[in-house]
Amino acid sequence: MSTRLTKALEFANYRTTLNNQKEQLKAKTQSLLSFSINGGSFTIDLPLLTFCKQLLDDSQTEVVLLDIYNNPIKVELEKFYEEILSRYYEVTNDYYVEYEKLRKARKVHKVLDLNEEGK
């Protein structure tokens, strides 16, 4: 096999690893953005955050929100908003740091954050 072809195949392998690792990072982020309270489960996303902020601006204190199962869950709004916002910051910041690390990695062992011996 020519050197150029070997290099191209190595690159293909790197791209597959990189893409899969990006998906893994997304999966981890998604899992960390799950939030449970009062017997209900929520996904912390932009609509939930903005809706809660809107309700807070409307001086609401206790509200009923529909969770991921569409079950009505009563929450104490200020505390709930504080918790989901702080979780969102924390998780997305970690996501950013790890994503940047991945984006700059140009070799398989760097994508996996390992040394060349695989440790």
């Binding site: 893409n19 999966a27 899992s31 199962y69 079950n71 695989g118």
Partner: protein
């Protein structure tokens, strides 16, 4: 004041000639203690698997990991007849007994008000399952799963057969002790006791009895013969397959795996998986790295 429910994890571990399920359960119990911070762990096993575990791991070590062991006798006839093809990557495959007949007794066996029933090889690498406790839904299990080789798709795992009901995975099941859940498990038992009838009715493929089938059928029946009637867990079920392998465990919540390329069987890419629970289908692979989970 509301009385706190008792909560715990339940696993079933019956060894066969090659797979040491009991060892897997002990290793997973260590991960549960570290990542879920739960010490209420029950393992259902048989005298032979327990004896082998005590010989290889020591009684004290097992007691530190599992605080409740339930010993049951095996149905030898079932064990001899329920053979499954186990793979250790595409390079090695073997038919071995698959002893899963008593999982439907989970409701009767569990000493807890709230139970998360998991496979011994569903590695707990995060605290996500803690989202289940005190949930409004008294019974939850997943029908949706995600392969961790993200571009690999297997449509045959979505339904019992091409035009059949949706397949639920009995890999992780959350349940509370209620009348409704008791009835659900009664239905699972009825499927287990009458496999030929339900196989004809629901047309699952092959001769192997799987809990995924009996739990799916019971879910369909108890929902008033409606598909996807039981809510899913608030977590996604991630799976690696038996054609994959594990390279190493690098932390209590992180492992490196070899994933088989979909268009190139026997050829792998590496992936680092962490902070998300994972079902490992290659049992030999988990046994190989269990030493590191058990002793660090």
């Amino acid at each position: 004041m509301k009385k706190e429910n008792s909560r715990g994890i339940l696993m079933f571990a019956h060894n066969n000639e090659e797979i040491d399920y009991f060892r897997l359960a002990v290793a997973n119990a260590k991960l549960i203690q570290k990542n879920l911070k739960i010490n209420n762990i029950t393992v259902v096993t048989d005298p032979h698997s327990l004896k082998h575990g005590e010989k290889t791991l020591g009684k004290k070590f097992i007691k530190d990991a599992i605080n409740n062991i339930v010993v049951v006798e095996k149905d030898k006839k079932f064990k001899a007849s329920n053979l499954r093809l186990y793979k250790d990557t595409s390079h090695s495959a073997k038919y071995l007994p698959f002893y899963n007949v008593n999982r439907c007794d989970a409701y009767d066996i569990s000493p807890y008000d709230e139970t998360i029933l998991i496979d011994a090889d569903y590695l707990i690498l995060s605290d996500t399952l803690n989202h289940c406790w005190d949930h409004n839904n008294e019974l939850m299990m997943n029908w949706k799963y995600q392969d961790i080789m993200f571009e690999r798709k297997d449509k045959t795992l979505d339904r019992l057969y091409d035009m059949g009901i949706t397949m639920y995975w009995a890999t992780v099941v959350y349940f509370r002790k209620t009348e409704y859940v008791e009835s659900f498990f009664e239905l699972v038992k009825h499927v287990r006791n009458n496999p030929q009838f339900y196989k004809d009715l629901y047309k699952w493929q092959g001769t192997l009895y799987r809990n995924d089938y009996s739990f799916s059928i019971a879910a369909h029946m108890i929902s008033g013969f409606v598909d996807k009637g039981i809510p899913q867990l608030p977590t996604t079920l991630y799976k690696s397959f038996d054609t994959d392998d594990i390279h190493d465990v690098i932390a209590d919540n992180e492992i490196i795996l070899y994933l088989e390329k979909p268009r190139s069987p026997g050829d792998f890419i590496l992936t680092k998986w962490g902070n998300v629970d994972l079902h490992i289908m290659n049992k030999w692979a988990v046994n190989r790295i269990s030493e590191k989970i058990l002793y660090g």
